[in-house]
């Protein structure tokens, strides 16, 4: 619990040019920045925002998949899904802990999620109406998350980078598990295959949006790249994801819902890559601004759990206080 001591600690730094240069020099030398190291306030705040959003995404992400735990079709699928959703909760826990090392508490972050100040990945504002969505989320959403997160294992901030190593191992397992689920549907009855195709049709574009706005429109990319918090731009990662995923869809007989998708041998410095159609950024911003099918339900569910759990948390604190006072007496 070493992070607890840092909450509310005086994290002011005098940001002279010499200080900023020395900090950048450490970053350029690939040194890890650790919780007690001096750091520019903007670096600290960028990380609090990023890690907080990431943690919230894990927690909110438990809901669309949790939607199918009680309806999973076999015992094997049921335990796999339970364990997967539990993993997401575990990721949330490491990430909140990593964010706490920067001087913010989990309670504070939770309140910001519930009052709408903090964001989470917009992908979780889409619904999971069918069982196939459980596979598709693993395959595409966790697949896209891995593309984003593998470079974060080398992020300049030590606690985040270390948390990401374990997170990525588990996400990679989820991605394969999700793909195997979709593949099983594709090998099943015509109805099951149609269920898989419908799910891909609904999740493909939102998955591409997960990489964030195009590089020309992203607010945060430049500085994050300079500080080696991020290593690749949104567009670079999106391209990698498409190039990796299209052949996986083809292999199991599914059609990617993009009529402009074509192989371009000159892309990626001659290694080739896919050209793809225009992303509907209006939809992206609409969902980010709170108008996705599930935005309100997601926050309502989190708020309900938090509010209805208040008496349990209070009981635990009251009990701990009694124990402490009786041990002092």
């Amino acid at each position: 619990m070493y992070s607890q001591g840092l909450i509310g600690a005086d994290n002011k730094t005098e940001e002279t040019q010499a200080f900023l240069d020395a900090f950048q020099k450490r970053i350029d030398a690939e040194e890890k920045i650790e919780p007690n190291d001096p750091m520019p306030l903007a670096y600290r705040n960028t990380l609090i925002r990023m890690i907080g959003q990431h943690a919230h995404s894990e927690i909110v992400g438990m809901l669309p998949e949790g939607n199918w735990i009680t309806r999973a079709p076999t015992l094997r699928r049921k335990v796999a899904l339970l364990a997967k959703v539990q993993d997401e909760g575990g990721h949330g826990l490491y990430l909140y802990s990593a964010a706490e090392t920067l001087g913010v508490s989990r309670e504070q972050m939770t309140e910001e999620l519930l009052d709408g100040t903090a964001k989470y990945s917009s992908i979780f504002n889409y619904p999971t109406p069918t069982w196939a969505d459980i596979g598709t989320i693993g395959w595409l959403v966790d697949g896209a998350a891995i593309m984003n997160q593998v470079p974060l294992c080398r992020c300049s901030y030590g606690p985040y980078a270390r948390a990401m190593i374990r997170v990525c191992k588990e996400e990679s397992f989820h991605q394969r598990q999700g793909y195997e689920l979709v593949k099983t549907l594709c090998e099943g009855t015509a109805e099951q295959k149609a269920m898989a195709q419908d799910s891909l049709d609904r999740w493909w574009w939102p998955s591409l949006m997960m990489f964030g706005p195009s590089d020309t429109d992203s607010q945060h990319s430049d500085k994050s790249m300079q500080w080696k918090i991020k290593r690749f731009t949104n567009d670079e990662l999106r391209q990698k994801f498409i190039d990796a995923t299209v052949p996986q869809a083809e292999l199991i007989g599914l059609t990617v819902p993009d009529k402009d998708l074509t192989w371009n041998p000159t892309k990626n410095r001659g290694k080739g890559g896919y050209d793809f159609g225009e992303i509907n950024w209006d939809e992206f911003w609409r969902v980010v601004q709170g108008h996705g099918l599930m935005n309100k339900d997601r926050i309502a569910a989190r708020k309900k759990a938090w509010d209805e759990g208040a008496w349990v948390r209070e009981a635990a604190q009251a009990y701990a206080a009694k124990q402490q006072s009786s041990s002092v007496a």
């Binding site: 309806r71 079709p73 909760g89 575990g90 099983t184 099943g188 604190q317």
Partner: protein, 250 residues
């Protein structure tokens, strides 16, 4: 085939599946993140044990059924779980207490099964006893905190005790099939388990500053396939895909 053994194994498997299913309903909605990790753990233990038991039931029956046939493709009246495990989650106090009541029964059960004359069940007992010991510890710690926490938590845990206690006697019922298994040294005598259960509950309740209630009437029926209305709704979720797309591979 030993039909009495099959009957008893299915009863125990159903207890685990249904309790695990109920616990899994909490996933993503717990009072704190730590519980969002530990409640699925307990659900996974329960469903994991159910899988082993159904697979064993299928072996005893020897008619080509699988764990999923048992779990998904029976009707309401064919499930033999006790009523306690199917009770709806209620609040956190109800869920923790329901789990404790069940775990306090299964722990001495699995301990005694180390000496069972049935090799499969004996082998399972060594793994199961470790898991269930954790459930007693985890839920017991919560019961103590709720009982000796705030006025509200004390009232809530007392309400849970009043609501659930009448369902605990069914855990110890002995039907003719179980009696046959006890006589063959497969299962332990229920009276012996009752003593240990009473001791565990007394100890935890004492620490939690709550009283073991006197119950006027004990509910029972699940063991014979007579369930409460909530159970049908549970099955309609559990079985949805298997029923909507019969014969499919998932």
């Amino acid at each position: 085939m030993n039909p009495a053994l099959l009957h008893s194994v299915v009863q125990i498997a159903d207890d685990h599946l249904i309790l695990g299913h109920r616990m899994s309903e909490w996933c993503g909605h717990a009072p704190m993140l730590e519980e969002d990790l530990s409640m699925p753990n307990m659900a996974l233990d329960m469903i994991g044990q159910a899988r082993t038991l159904y697979t064993y039931a299928a072996t005893i029956e020897n008619q080509g059924r699988t764990e999923d046939d048992f779990a998904y493709l029976r009707n309401d009246r064919e499930y033999l779980n006790c009523l306690l495990v199917e009770r709806p989650n209620g609040d956190f106090a109800h869920t923790m207490l329901r789990q404790l009541y069940f775990a306090a029964y299964m722990h001495p059960f699995w301990e005694a099964m180390h000496k069972s004359t049935d090799n499969t069940l004996q082998a399972l007992s060594f793994k199961a006893v470790k898991e269930i010991a954790y459930h007693i510890r985890h839920c017991g710690e919560w019961i103590v905190r709720l009982g000796d926490g705030t006025d509200e938590s004390h009232e809530r845990i007392n309400n849970a005790v009043s609501a659930l206690h009448p369902y605990t006697a069914e855990l110890f019922e002995v039907d003719e099939q179980r009696l046959a298994g006890i006589e063959l040294g497969i299962f332990p005598a229920q009276a012996q388990l009752r003593q240990v259960w009473d001791k565990t509950i007394d100890q935890i309740f004492h620490q939690a500053k709550i009283k073991v209630p006197r119950t006027d009437f004990n509910q029972s029926g699940g063991r014979k396939g007579l369930h409460t209305e909530d159970f049908g709704l549970l099955l309609s979720q559990l079985q949805y895909l298997q029923r909507a797309y019969p014969g499919s591979t998932w």
